[in-house]
């Protein structure tokens, strides 16, 4: 390889790599979400209202309230020590039941209720991690 090809190659890699890096950074920045367990969220995250979070916890038994007229779902997301009320509007996954591990995505409202726009259940048949 002579110097000319090296320079050409270097510029090419810089331009393409930079472009891709920029694209990735852009895409990441807008879909960034902090991932906490409910307990960690209570100790760390309350200050940052309006930010996007993803929280994992357990649906507290007996806390699920469905309002069919307004198509909302309220439940309490419980960790080992803390609990957090959640309001969710959208399609409830089939395997959503009480006392089950779920992940919610959304923001904390000023009222202290977590406004979730995504509700996910762990796919127990596929994630074998917790079988042990």
């Amino acid at each position: 390889m002579n110097t000319k090809t090296v320079v050409k190659l270097g510029i090419g890699i810089l331009v393409i790599g930079g472009g891709i890096g920029y694209f990735m950074y852009q895409a990441m920045q807008s879909s960034w979400a902090y991932y906490y367990s409910v307990d960690d969220f209570a100790t760390a995250g309350t200050a940052s209202q309006g930010q996007s979070f993803r929280l994992a916890g357990r649906v507290k038994a007996g806390s699920v309230e469905r309002d069919l007229q307004n198509m909302t779902l309220r439940f309490t997301l419980a960790g080992a020590q803390t609990q957090l009320p959640v309001l969710y509007k959208g399609v409830t996954p089939d395997n959503f039941t009480e006392d089950k591990e779920v992940v919610v995505e959304g923001r904390l409202a000023a009222t202290g209720v977590f406004q979730a726009d995504t509700l996910m259940t762990r796919c127990e048949s596929k994630y074998q991690a917790k079988v042990k």
Binding site: A33, Y34, Y36, R54, A56, M71, V91, T97, A129, K130
Partner: protein, 643 residues
């Protein structure tokens, strides 16, 4: 019976370790009897695995809940066929199935024993058995399919009702067939790099090529079935959620696609030759890594460092593969670059395609691993929402489409001036303008799809009008291969049309309805007529009757339902779909109050979505055609491969 299975696994471990030893020693000192022993040990290992699979099947069929795997994945009342398919319902059984298939392929491919290929096959067997040893270790010490239950349960946990679906029965084994078959190109690469005479093209190349095609075909089947199942069964109107489990199968599929394009143009000692070898190793490594990722919950867990336990063996395996394979590839490249041959101008296209595919695989991998990576650099765990993937893969897909449009031209003539290159440039500019100015990515995609469609049609016209040139009779195999490749590409195009249409023009509406009420969605008017209840043995199903009108005429009667399973407190929603080639009307009954008959209905309109399934079908069909052409050709060739 469980003891028998455990014994078979331990014997298999010993045999595969022994096979590595004698194959390498026999190869080094050229001892035929050792090579024969290595081959026999590999066959013995296959027999052990077969015995273990049969033992597990018998335990599953008998509902022997003293075995933990049986208790966790089946129940007494489960239909018999699901008891048998529970072999791949859990991690332990899946790994066993994968290893069994892989060893089967290895025996089919590398058990040959003639003067030409015995040394070559020995190295390939050693590389494959290395993987087998690690799989055996995981199976014996961590995910033991024959491990006993602590207490004998009265009944098993059963299979999630969501998974009791034909697509979900076939989806895992299709993926595992694909993963296992990628072991053949992987093992072949080691053998090809270790050969003594580099002036000759490596033997068994067509075998590696065909296995890659075969593996890609089954990976496509597996991914498409998974997507279809998600669409039919999960009731959220989508088919792909960029979930780590889904990405784990997509990432190797992307690199495998690049692998196939290199396999087509492979010549020893050239650029695509090097790419082929690297991609074969990368693809197989990603298959293993993806399995490790999903089976050990590395990214799904909230904790920054979940305990992978003995899953770490998979990482050790990957390190070993690359510690041995990497230097071999570098050495092979240095040895051959002195005599590097140049290939036709179109090779540039294959290389671009490779880079693009590898790049897409990379950004998806980074996105999937992001929660884990962020946990490494900070105490906080950060995840990316699924729109990251859409944003980042959208421009890549567009470039891919444009390449697909010009590729047949590029392959023949390189970058010389032609209307196709001009057309591609115009389309690219138009697409980027539409995307940037109108923010309508779907339209940009459809413009690109139209361009690709025109080019594919032009290909056919060119081929059939150029017929009759004297002395240019095409053999049947080449003809079949050409048509197979076109069918695959038409399939890719149609899948893109479906993805763009269903992603860009979809409508979603969630409504609360009482009997007699109506709602308008898109062109359709839906009337809720009432509820029907249905009582089964272990479930109660509630069905909502919905009439669909367009204008004044009733065009369909749909009945989405919810089934409640009394014992497990589980419920499954059974969506109802009005399917047309123009698009689907998809109804999911999300909530129901049987007293007041108030329902919540989620309505999706998914234009063009069926073209995704049609396109996937064509991709598989086209690959089968190419594969048939390849098998037909190698049968007559002197380097026939015994498949």
């Amino acid at each position: 019976m469980p003891e028998f299975g455990q014994f078979a696994l331990r014997l298999g471990l010993l045999l595969s370790a022994y096979a590595i030893l004698v194959d390498l020693v026999g190869r080094r000192w050229n001892r035929r009897e050792l090579l024969a022993s290595g081959r026999n040990a590999t066959i013995g290992c296959l027999l052990c695995l077969t015995a273990a699979c049969i033992a597990l099947e018998i335990l599953l069929a008998r509902s022997d809940f003293s075995v933990r795997y049986v208790a966790e994945n089946t129940a007494r009342a489960l239909p018999f066929v699901y008891k048998l398919t529970a072999l791949w319902a859990g991690a332990a059984g899946s790994l066993l199935l994968w290893l069994w298939l892989q060893t089967g392929f290895v025996v089919l491919a590398f058990a040959k024993f003639d003067r030409d290929s015995e040394r070559f096959c020995a190295t390939a067997r050693a590389a494959a058995n290395l993987v087998a040893v690690f799989f055996f270790l995981v199976l014996i010490f961590d995910k033991d399919p024959f491990g006993l239950s602590v207490t004998m349960p009265r009944d098993g946990a059963g299979l999630n009702p969501l998974l009791q679906h034909p697509a979900m029965v076939l989806h895992p084994p299709a993926l595992f067939l694909g993963y296992a078959a990628f072991a053949i190109p992987y093992a072949w690469v080691f053998a090809a790099l270790r050969r003594d005479d580099t002036s000759q093209p490596p033997i068994l190349l067509s075998l590696a090529r065909n296995s890659a095609l075969f593996a890609w075909m089954f990976l496509t089947v597996g991914i498409a079935l998974g997507a279809w199942w998600a669409y039919e069964e999960l009731g959220w109107g989508g088919y792909w959620a960029w979930d780590p489990v889904e990405n784990a199968s997509l990432i190797p599929w992307l690199t495998a696609t690049a692998l196939l394009h290199c396999a087509r143009t492979f010549r020893a000692g050239t650029k695509t030759g090097l790419w082929f070898m690297v991609l074969a190793l990368v693809t197989f490594s990603l298959c293993i890594f993806g399995t490790f990722l999903t089976r050990y919950g590395l990214v799904s867990s909230v904790h920054a460092f979940p305990e992978p336990g003995l899953g770490i063996l998979f990482l050790v395996l990957l390190i070993v593969i690359w510690a041995v394979g990497g230097p071999l590839i570098v050495r092979g490249h240095l040895r051959s670059s002195a005599t590097a041959q140049t290939q036709g101008p179109g090779i540039r296209f294959v290389v671009w395609n490779n880079w693009l595919m590898v790049l897409l695989a990379f950004v998806v991998l980074v996105g999937t691993l992001f929660p884990f990576l962020s946990g490494l650099v900070s105490s906080q765990k950060i995840t990316l929402k699924s729109d990251y993937f859409t944003k980042i893969t959208a421009p890549g897909g567009l470039v891919l489409l444009l390449l697909l449009g010009v590729c047949p031209h590029l392959m023949r003539h390189g970058l010389s001036k032609s209307w196709r290159i001009v057309g591609a440039a115009v389309t690219a500019v138009a697409a980027v303008l539409i995307w940037m100015l109108a923010h309508d990515l779907a339209i940009a995609y459809l413009v690109a799809c139209a361009f690709v469609g025109m080019n594919l049609v032009a290909d056919f016209i060119q081929r059939y009008t150029r017929r009759g040139v004297p002395g240019e009779a095409t053999p049947v195999g080449a003809n079949l291969r050409w048509h197979g490749a076109r069918v695959v590409h038409i399939g890719v195009l149609l899948a893109f049309v479906g993805i763009a249409g269903s992603g860009g023009f979809d409508l979603q509406k969630q409504v609360a309805l009482r009997p007699g009420e109506r709602t308008q969605v898109g062109d359709f008017e839906l009337a809720y007529d009432g509820l029907d209840a249905q009582h089964g043995a272990n479930f109660t199903a509630v069905k909502a009757n919905v009439s669909v009108y367009r204008g004044q005429t009733r065009i369909a009667q749909l009945a989405p339902a919810v089934a409640f399973y009394s014992r497990s407190e589980k419920r499954t929603s059974e969506v109802d779909i009005r399917r047309t080639l123009a698009g689907d009307l998809y109804l999911a009954l999300t909530e129901v109050d049987s007293g007041s008959k108030l329902i919540n209905l989620t309505i999706y309109i998914k234009p063009l979505i069926n073209w995704i399934w049609i396109g996937s079908g064509l991709m598989v069909l086209g690959t089968a055609l190419v594969l048939a052409a390849g098998l037909g050709r190698t049968r007559g060739a002197p380097q026939g491969n015994g498949q």
